[in-house]
């Protein structure tokens, strides 16, 4: 099938699919007219990539997952380790964001938020601690 079709079936934008070819993730055959031709397996890979990306894996991690997927000799522990590492980094990001959120909420609460210019948020960011 052509790239537009593959895009619909995989849920990935056409541009992204071309990009994945460029970086050697999914390399389709070519028709005589030069159009990319995607096999069912190609579409499966594109779907795989779409899901893995949504799970938070980077493109290079996806590359690894894809090679593991195609490696019938793989050990499942390898994949599990990757997944658990990713869980950890996600947890770390959540903690960081939570602390940012708490800071900002506290700052926002301390600001009266009216037409007057004095603003504890800016004061605090500037280092003139007022809270």
């Amino acid at each position: 099938m052509n790239i537009g079709n593959a895009s619909e079936l995989s849920g990935l934008p056409v541009k992204t699919i071309r990009y994945y070819e460029e970086i050697d993730l999914v390399k389709p055959a070519r028709a005589e007219n030069g159009y990319r031709f995607y096999s069912k397996d190609d579409v499966l890979y594109l779907n795989f990539l779409n899901r893995a990306r949504k799970l938070g894996f980077s493109v290079s991690e996806c590359r690894l997952l894809l090679s593991l997927y195609n490696d019938t000799e793989r050990s499942s522990s390898e994949v599990k380790t990757l997944a658990l590492q990713k869980v950890e980094t996600i947890e770390a990001k959540i903690l960081e964001l939570t602390s940012m959120k708490n800071m900002l909420s506290k700052l926002a609460q301390s600001c009266h938020g009216d037409n007057r210019p004095d603003c504890p948020i800016l004061d605090e960011i500037a280092g003139k601690a007022t809270i």
Copy 2:
């Protein structure tokens, strides 16, 4: 003071400070030998930027905050609105990451993680739901 000194006082890497000049965030004077010369105010601004970035504001939001900081006519509500919007986007990110984390944890739990090749994580990512 020179850029190295400004870097120490603000906590920003030298490269970053040069970058902030390039994008017209903090433009220092120049000494006769061509070296950047940072005033106390400049360092205050760099500190401000460092903190605002750590709070999750983008560089362009920082630009706005900095102009508000220097605008004695500002209304504090403007700043408060920005802060609350940022809290919302951070919350959204946290939710997204949490759902990613839950998915991945569930997948990892379902995988025996030994030397055998069969792996529910890969199967699930590929769309062959087995959970």
